[in-house]
Structure formats: structure tokens, C-alpha cells
């Protein structure tokens, strides 16, 4: 299967004053196949949002390659990069702040086309996109502050899709929405995926939401990938202790609640070896000395752990 997005050895570090560096993303590699939805899950500070922006080169990653349909974005500059960006679009968490409050909806959705210099059929494509996301024509002249959160998110999605990109990265797109609106937007994303034949990367901290929409799920902790597996497999038989703790923390999860203790270590000085070892109930000496590598333990199911739970 052809891979639409190939991320290899992505590293993103920020200087943090006094010679220290924030290790936001450390050597993350993953693929997204054509027509696939990859869920990226983790708690705050794991680096999932940084991954999303690094893929778009906003800001440029410290090292690593990002290939979209074979073209390496990290090697592109200026005009070529701007042209390549059209294939990867981003939908943000806060629907209202991701739209310019001084512009009307039609202008917002038309913006990608205007930037690309597309003149013909612009109005038609914009109204087709608005209709596809379930917004009536009356909304076209409104400004973002006149719309609800759910409607703003639909506008964001229309804007992302109007250029028919290859892949759309959704960074916590439903986290600020009401529960009843979440379901509408999740269904909408599924529909759009089929209608426009795009691949999705769906980033969220909400495990149930991620499971619902994803084909495969990747779990991140403190800048590293812990586990990657098909959605149903991951939740049915999680192998990494962090994944197990995450699933057990969900209020509606069946079974005894395995509380995750301790605090997230600082990304300025991540623990040696396995970064999760400071909070892992199964940690041993080896975990501090040797960093586990993401290896496939079962078909399609990879874990980065020395002692994965069978």
C-alpha cells in the first residue's frame, strides 16, 4: 500500500535558556497509508501537537524527514515548500481562534484557493465545500464570532478540504466542543474522508474518541512512541504499561482502576533509557540503561518496551 505520509526519525527540540533544551519530540517515525486514519494519542507534554506542526514545517524540525507522497518537505524551501504545503492541511483545536475574526466565512474557506492562485470555479468550489460540511448558504457571510463552536469547526474542515489535500492532520478537533456536537463532527470527518479520499491523522487525548475514528493508533509519551497498533487491537490487548494505565484511567473502563502515580518528568531532562520507567510498575534495571526500540511483537502491533505485557 502506498504511504501518503512517511515520517522518519523526527526530532524537535527547542532551546530553553541556560543551555538547556526541551526535547519535545525524540526520534519518532510512522507512516500513514492512503485512505487510512492514524490516531495519535497521549497526554499533555507528550509532543503530539509538536509532531503535527513539525510535519508542516511550522517550525522546522531539528532533524528527520517528512515525505508527503514521496516528496521530502524538510528539503524544500520557499516557493516549493509553500506549494507542497497544499497537500497537508491542519485542523486546529480551538475552532474560534483558528479563524481570522475579521473575515467572512466565504473568504476564509476561499483562502487556500486564493493563495494557490486558483481563479476559476473558486466560488463554486467554496460553496460545494460549505455544503459538504453541512453548513447552509446563509452562513457564508457571517463572521466567526457569530457562529457556534461546532459551526466554526465545520468551517475549518471545509477550509482544509477545499484544496483536496492528500492528508489532513486534526489536532484535537473536538476537544473544545460539547459532547453532542462532538459526535456530529466525528461523523462529519468520517464522511469527508470517504468523499474526498483523504488520509487523516487524528490527534487527541481522548482515547474513546480516537478509537472510534482511527484505523491504527499510536501512543506517545514524553516525545517518544510507546505503542502502535490497529485500533481494536490496541484497546483489546495493550502491551505497553503506559497504554494500559491510560486505558484504565478512563472513567467508563471496565476492570480495576490501575492508578498511574507520580508526575510527568521534565522534558528538559527526560529519564535515561525508557522515559516511562519512573512511573512504570514493571520497571527494572535494564529500563534505565537501555532505551527500548519500537519493535513489532504481533502482526501490525509494535511496542517500545523491554517487558511488554503479553
Amino acid at each position: 500500500m502506498t504511504a501518503v505520509l512517511e515520517v522518519e526519525h523526527l526530532v524537535v527540540e527547542f532551546p530553553a535558556g541556560r543551555g538547556q533544551r526541551v526535547h519535545a519530540v525524540s526520534d519518532v517515525s510512522f507512516d500513514v497509508a492512503e485512505g487510512e486514519t492514524l490516531g495519535l494519542v497521549g497526554e499533555s507534554g507528550c509532543g503530539k501537537s509538536t509532531v503535527a506542526r513539525a510535519v508542516l514545517q511550522l517550525p522546522r524540525p531539528t532533524s528527520g524527514t517528512v515525505r508527503v507522497s514521496g516528496r521530502d518537505l524538510t528539503a524544500l524551501r520557499g516557493k516549493a515548500l509553500r506549494a507542497a504545503r497544499r497537500d497537508v492541511q491542519l485542523v486546529f483545536q480551538d475552532p474560534i481562534s483558528s479563524l481570522n475574526p475579521r473575515r467572512r466565512v466565504t473568504d476564509l474557506v476561499a483562502e487556500p484557493l486564493a493563495i494557490a492562485g486558483v481563479r476559476e470555479a473558486r466560488r463554486h468550489r467554496v460553496s460545494a465545500a460549505l455544503e459538504a460540511v453541512g453548513l447552509p448558504p446563509e452562513v457564508a457571510d457571517a463572521r466567526p464570532h457569530q457562529l457556534s463552536g461546532g459551526q466554526c469547526q465545520r468551517v475549518s474542515i471545509a477550509r482544509a478540504l477545499v484544496q483536496e489535500p492528500k492528508i489532513v492532520i486534526c489536532d484535537e478537533p473536538v476537544s473544545s466542543l460539547d459532547v453532542s456536537v462532538q459526535a456530529q463532527i466525528l461523523n462529519l470527518l468520517e464522511d469527508m474522508k470517504h468523499r474526498y479520499s483523504v488520509s487523516l491523522v487524528f490527534i487527541s487525548h481522548d482515547l474513546a474518541v480516537v478509537k472510534n475514528i482511527s484505523d491504527r493508533v499510536a501512543v506517545m509519551y514524553l516525545g517518544k512512541l510507546c505503542e502502535v497498533a490497529p485500533a481494536d487491537d490496541l484497546y483489546r490487548s495493550p502491551m505497553h504499561p503506559y497504554t494500559r494505565a491510560l486505558i484504565a484511567s478512563i472513567p467508563s473502563a471496565p476492570g480495576p482502576r490501575a492508578k498511574l502515580t507520580g508526575e510527568l518528568p521534565s522534558p528538559l531532562q527526560p529519564p535515561s533509557g525508557c522515559r516511562f520507567r519512573t512511573r512504570c510498575p514493571l520497571a527494572q534495571a535494564r529500563c534505565a540503561q537501555e532505551e527500548p526500540v519500537l519493535t513489532e511483537r504481533q502482526p501490525g502491533h509494535a511496542v517500545a518496551c523491554h517487558f511488554p505485557v503479553a
Binding site: 506542526r53 508542516l56 511550522l58 515548500l81 509553500r82 506549494a83 504545503r85 497544499r86 497537508v88 492541511q89 491542519l90 486546529f92 483545536q93 480551538d94 481562534s97 483558528s98 479563524l99 481570522n100 475574526p101 475579521r102 483562502e111 487556500p112 493563495i115 494557490a116 459538504a132 460540511v133 453541512g134 453548513l135 447552509p136 446563509e138 452562513v139 457571517a142 463572521r143 464570532h145 457569530q146 457562529l147 457556534s148 461546532g150 459551526q151 465545520r154 475549518s156 477550509r159 484544496q163 456530529q184 461523523n187 462529519l188 464522511d191 469527508m192
Partner: protein, 299 residues
């Protein structure tokens, strides 16, 4: 309008989201806006058409009526300490005040705003260098700077305007920079860059329209400050040279008669006019700011 909200979605079609929530109805502009706006319009009108209005000469003295009380001898607002008509001097003086107020602020806005915009968008070295220059300018005592400028360039309306503009630039740079920074952080700027927009396009279409609001609100307040600044300079004899009238120099001229209580109106009338004008600019600025602040959400 068909109530789309109740229509069950057809299979495959996304559930539509039809209704527009009622946008908060903006409070109608009342007297508190129109009264000061009318005053500003009046002052501006007077300043613009001073030459064609039926006014007495602002520079010729009427020796029959020195320090005349308002209403006597055909002088609606009286005469000053050497017999010149106060009303016409007010109107001609408005030219000076408004020119300095509006032009100096406009220059400060454009130059300072551009500096702040670039510093706030690019950050890093650009910001350090630009804001360093701004900080140096701000650290300079404004009064000394203005005195130096006028001493160097000479006294004229143009030079006073330049001097006040120079002092206004760093203030605008700082405000513009912080407005830009708070704008650049927001997702829609990242979204624009993610869509492949050039830096110039992002600045022009995304950052500028949003950053300009707090800067414009600030500008209206600075107009008031600039008018007072000119008044102070005129009082010190650093503004337009006599016999050209200016509100500040009128206040200065009447100070003796104010001190001994014989004709306080000579100073108080221009002071009152200056007060009303500055107050009007502030109030109008407040109204416009609250009207265009789209982030004030409806409950």
C-alpha cells in the same frame, strides 16, 4: 426558512447545522458618542475653514477693547491681553492643535506600527535590534528631545509636528509589537502559513487587520496627549512663533491676568476648549474600541 435542525440526515450526508446564533445586538450609539463626535467635527470644521469664516483677525489688536469680557464690543468670546479676538484665535489655533495631534500621531502610527509589526512577527534578532532602538528612544526624556529638535530645526508648525511624532514612534512600536505577538500566537496565523501563504500575505491579511485594532484605540488616546503636548510646548515658547495663535500660547499669554484675577477667561477659555477636545477624542476612542472588539462574546 426551513428548519434544517430537525431534518433527519440522509444516510451518508452529514447532519446539517443551520441556525445562526443571534449575534449580540450592538448597543446603539447614544449621546455619549455623538456629543463628543459633534464637538470634534466642529473643531475640525473651524480649523479647516478658518479663512472663509466671518471671523475677526486673529493677529490684529483692537486697542479699544483690551482684555474685554466675552460679549463686549462685538467680540463673542472677548479679547486677550493685547486686544486680539479670542474666538478667532481659538479657531486658528485649532489648526495647530489638530495638525500636531492628527499628523504627528499618524506618522507615529505608521512608522512605529511598522517597526512593532516587524519586531513582533519575526522575533529573534530582528526584534532585539528594533526594540533596542525603541527602548533608547523611550529612555530619552521627551521634553529634552523636543526642545533639542525645535532648537535645531527652528520653530514652525512642521517642526513641532516632527518633534511630537518622534516621541510618539517608540510608544506605538511597543503597542504594535505586543498586539502583533498576541495575534501571531493564534491558530489562524499558523493556518495561513500552513496553507502556503507568503510572509507578506500573512502580515497583510491575517496579522495587520487584527493587530490594528488595539493600536488604533491607542492612537486616539495619543491624539489627546499630543494636543496637550503641543499646548505645553507652546506655553514654553517652543511651538509656532507669535503672532500665530496656538491654544498653548494663548494660555501662556493670559497667565498674568489669570494670576491677578482680572481677566481669567483669557487663559481659561482656551484651556477649556483644549480640555473638551482631548476628552472628546478619548470618549470617541472608547466607543469605537468597544464596538470593534469582536472578542467580546455574547453570553
Amino acid at each position: 426558512m426551513p428548519d434544517l435542525a430537525t431534518v433527519a440526515p440522509a444516510s451518508g450526508a452529514p447532519a446539517p447545522d443551520a441556525s445562526l446564533p443571534t449575534a449580540g445586538r450592538r448597543r446603539a450609539l447614544g449621546l455619549s458618542f455623538w456629543a463628543p463626535a459633534a464637538w470634534i467635527a466642529l473643531v475640525a470644521f473651524g480649523a479647516a475653514f478658518a479663512a472663509v469664516l466671518p471671523l475677526k483677525s486673529p493677529t490684529r489688536s483692537d486697542f479699544a477693547h483690551i482684555a474685554a469680557v466675552p460679549g463686549t464690543g462685538g467680540h463673542l468670546l472677548g479679547t486677550d491681553e493685547i486686544g486680539r479676538d479670542i474666538l478667532s484665535r481659538l479657531v486658528y489655533g485649532a489648526r495647530v492643535s489638530l495638525t500636531v495631534g492628527l499628523v504627528a500621531v499618524a506618522v507615529g502610527l505608521v512608522v512605529g506600527g511598522a517597526i512593532g509589526l516587524l519586531a513582533g512577527y519575526h522575533r529573534g534578532k530582528t526584534e532585539t535590534v528594533l526594540m533596542g532602538i525603541v527602548d533608547v528612544m523611550l529612555a530619552f526624556p521627551a521634553l529634552v528631545l523636543v526642545i533639542a529638535v525645535t532648537a535645531f530645526l527652528g520653530q514652525s508648525l512642521r517642526n513641532v509636528t516632527v518633534a511630537v511624532a518622534i516621541v510618539a514612534v517608540p510608544a506605538f512600536a511597543r503597542v504594535a509589537r505586543s498586539a502583533t505577538i498576541s495575534c501571531v500566537h493564534r491558530d489562524f496565523v499558523t493556518a495561513a502559513r500552513g496553507m502556503g501563504a507568503t510572509t507578506w500575505r500573512v502580515l497583510r491579511r491575517e496579522v495587520l487587520p487584527n493587530a490594528v485594532l488595539p493600536v488604533a484605540a491607542f492612537a486616539l488616546v495619543v491624539v489627546g496627549v499630543a494636543i496637550i503636548a503641543e499646548g505645553g510646548l507652546a506655553f514654553l515658547g517652543l511651538s509656532v512663533p507669535p503672532p500665530h495663535p496656538s491654544w498653548g500660547s494663548m494660555i501662556y499669554g493670559g497667565k498674568n491676568k489669570l494670576a491677578d484675577g482680572t481677566a481669567p477667561f483669557i487663559s481659561l477659555i482656551p484651556a477649556g476648549v483644549m480640555f473638551l477636545t482631548v476628552l472628546s477624542f478619548n470618549v470617541v476612542g472608547d466607543h469605537l474600541r468597544s464596538r470593534f472588539d469582536t472578542r467580546a462574546g455574547v453570553l
